[in-house]
Symmetry: none
């Protein structure tokens, strides 16, 4: 196997594992929970921690204020003609609850059996630090990087990156780069590293249904006053059928069916349906008719109710026709589905399902397009070899069913080659109690990151 | 007009209005919300308050324990051969939510524009106290009642009287009476007092739908994991159609259609649809196809969703497939529909609507049959005249769309003549924010109650 990384850099990485782990432990102690206002000071502290790290390595940077949490940017760009790599990551974390299900406290990092346990260990603090580690070892041995490096770290990824798009479009020059890279996901299987080349989009809507101006007695009015919860059920029940097909007219019009080569490639990947069912606690998986589970969750659009409410939710009984009912409904979109157009189709269809006697309001809460990145770029080739150098195995390619607003923002500022990597294992429990990241993946990810930096140096 | 009430008693009632209002305010301060376990101490406190009141008047009584809230019974039965009147009422109230829609706090009674505002003002604390007031004035002026009086007050009417039936059947001797009377409803119109001769039954069910064992990421699993909120929407949406017909197979099998004379009588009552729509804040009323609004709400069975929940209900977005969703669904039944049989039909049908990939649980929360009482009894004649004495106008007859489990229990212990009266106005907002009861109805109701006591004294 060809090596990108100079031997002394590789040796420095290996020798620095204890120091790098200590640094990660220090970082993980900061409870940077972006969704809870009480922690906003800690979120800022995490941004400052990262800025200090970058400055220690010789980067120049600053925190950029947003209406929410700050964006940390730092650059080390000594060359005029060399390629520029933009490293993206996020320093915010999910809330740790249910806290009582953690074996050790979520913000007291502990190493057990080769894993470091803490909220944010794999998502994304441990993974983003692999790039800092790689840069530190490169600079320690060679004094300068082989290409220009920019680092942008946001503090609102876990709440849907509400401010990153406008930050990015307001700082196009700052973020300008040939390639962007992020490691904020996981391998396909512990022993199968993966490059993600596609994301689904997300269109998140709210439906509010209004009936009588106040809750009214179902004995006195039941039978003659339209019930908003019933109207909502008719509307929601009409959005999708039991075959998994979304019933909004026009929803599939711009959807390209999955290519035969892509279906074949997905079919070639191992997928243990029984294990998945056991892990989810369900009797059956229900993919869209005509598609496999992997196709349905990664490359097909779908619709889900994320929340529903109305009327009496307590114990026992309350005999009312509720004044109001509502639901959060989100759609995962695939490339060529325009979120704005789908939002219009959604609203028109919901209105057409509304029965007499109620008022219906439809609002868009957030909207992110889908994305496919080119698979045949030189950047992807470099990433494949970097992963092989770090993890000893060439990656598989897969699309992800989720949506990463920041990636869409990077695409929108003009970066076409976006490397969506993931050094974690699928069982790392991200967003769940006992989140962890293996020290082995931390080490291998650092090698892969260093390898990628050298590999990308030659692409221009 | 013939007077039943001796002049001194009438004068005492008129002179005691301030004192009676103060007593009501005192009673309304107790938040006796029967459905919320946190308030069970307050519910008991309301029972004790009533018992103390009855004992102060010379009654002998006690609280009778049940598996739920206690029943308060007190009797003043000095005669061997006189008729016995049983007064029924309930001292529990509905939850006050949504609390933020109250102009003044629900358990801080306030008099505004001749109305007393508080949860329970009209349903049923203000109305039941009219009998206490009447008895107090009678005893103050005459030293003894004109007939035997028994008072039974329960604390679980608002949760469907789950224990009153077994209490009643276990205390037949205690409750034995010639006539039962209750005032727990409203006039037909502010200026049209009413005697209710029929009630709908109530079957209150809960549907719980279970999906994955924990909330899962809708990006990772959307498209292949069955969504409990969607399953619930399909189930609920299938229970009733837009014409107002309940779709449960067999639901209408034992329903007798409304008699032509009864349809004619109802058609003869004034009904201002525009005013009703304005009061409810709706654009349209939606009676069952083939029936008027009055028929649909008073003499036809129907089905309503009283509450619905699942997943994320906060502001903004959370991208999950919820682990669980549920709903409260209740049906109003008419005579000859057996609640137990309808519960079986409901459960069977709900299960048939459940899609693959979720588990569905159906539970009965409460169940009460429907009732029609004789309209030509001497007790009814006495009630007609008492209402004329209190309210200055003879009552109309009407069936009520609501359900009073206790009435069914009284019927079951052998009391055929049950006088279902109602001193409230239709706009009293019972079960809604800003519930109130007018002091004028409180006064007139007290006179009518006293008149009824004297009128019934001669029926044996």
């Amino acid at each position: 196997m060809e090596h990108y990384i100079p031997r002394p850099v590789l040796a420095h990485i290996e020798d620095s594992q204890d120091a790098y782990a200590k640094k990660l432990i220090d970082f993980l102690k900061i409870p940077s929970i972006s969704t809870l206002p009480a922690y906003s000071g800690d979120v800022r502290r995490a941004a400052e921690w990262l800025l200090k790290e970058a400055e220690r390595l010789g980067f120049k940077g600053a925190l950029y204020e947003t209406p929410g949490h700050p964006v940390m940017y730092a650059g080390l760009c000594p060359y005029k003609d060399a390629p520029t790599l933009l490293v993206y990551g996020h320093y915010d974390v999910q809330p740790p609850d249910p806290v009582d299900q953690w074996c050790t406290p979520p913000f007291t990092p502990v190493i057990r059996d080769g894993n470091i346990f803490a909220r944010g260990a794999t998502d994304d603090k441990g993974q983003l630090l692999t790039f800092f580690n790689a840069i530190e070892s490169i600079l320690a041995m060679e004094g300068k990087p082989p290409l220009n490096i920019k680092i942008v770290m946001e503090g609102e990824e876990e709440i849907g990156s509400p401010n990153f798009m406008s930050f990015a479009s307001g700082h196009r020059e700052l973020l300008n780069a040939d390639v962007a890279a992020l490691s904020d996901g996981s391998k396909y299987r512990d022993d199968m590293p993966m490059i993600c080349y596609g994301l689904r989009g997300l269109l998140y809507m709210q439906i509010d249904v209004y009936g009588p101006s106040h809750d009214v007695h179902s004995g006195l009015y039941g039978g003659a006053v339209a019930n908003p919860a019933m109207a909502l059920s008719w509307i929601l029940g009409g959005l999708k059928d039991a075959r998994g097909k979304v019933l909004i007219p026009g929803f599939y019009d711009s959807v390209h069916d999955i290519e035969p080569w892509e279906r074949e490639e997905m079919a070639g990947l191992p997928f243990d349906e029984e294990a998945e069912k056991a892990r989810l606690g369900v009797d059956a998986l229900v993919p869209e008719e005509g598609y496999t589970v992997l196709e349905s969750t990664r490359a097909r659009p779908t619709l889900d109710i994320n929340g529903i409410w109305g009327g009496f939710q307590g114990e026992g009984s309350k005999t009312i026709i509720p004044a109001q009912a509502g639901a959060k409904v989100s759609m995962r979109l695939v490339p060529d589905q325009d979120p704005g157009e789908i939002a219009r189709l959604f609203e028109r269809y919901v209105m057409s399902l509304a029965p007499c006697g109620v008022k219906v309001k439809v609002s868009t809460i957030s909207s992110t397009g889908a994305l496919i990145v080119p698979r045949d770029s030189v950047a992807i080739k470099a990433a494949e070899r970097a992963i092989e150098e770090g993890f000893g195995r060439r990656p598989v390619f897969m699309r992800d069913g989720g949506s990463i607003g920041a990636v869409i923002a990077l695409k929108a500022v003009g970066i076409d080659d976006i490397l969506m990597l993931g050094w974690g294992d699928p069982g790392d429990q991200l967003h769940s109690p006992n989140e962890h990241f293996s020290l082995e993946n931390f080490r291998r990810g650092t090698i892969a990151a260093a390898s990628l930096i050298y590999g990308l140096a030659g692409i221009k």
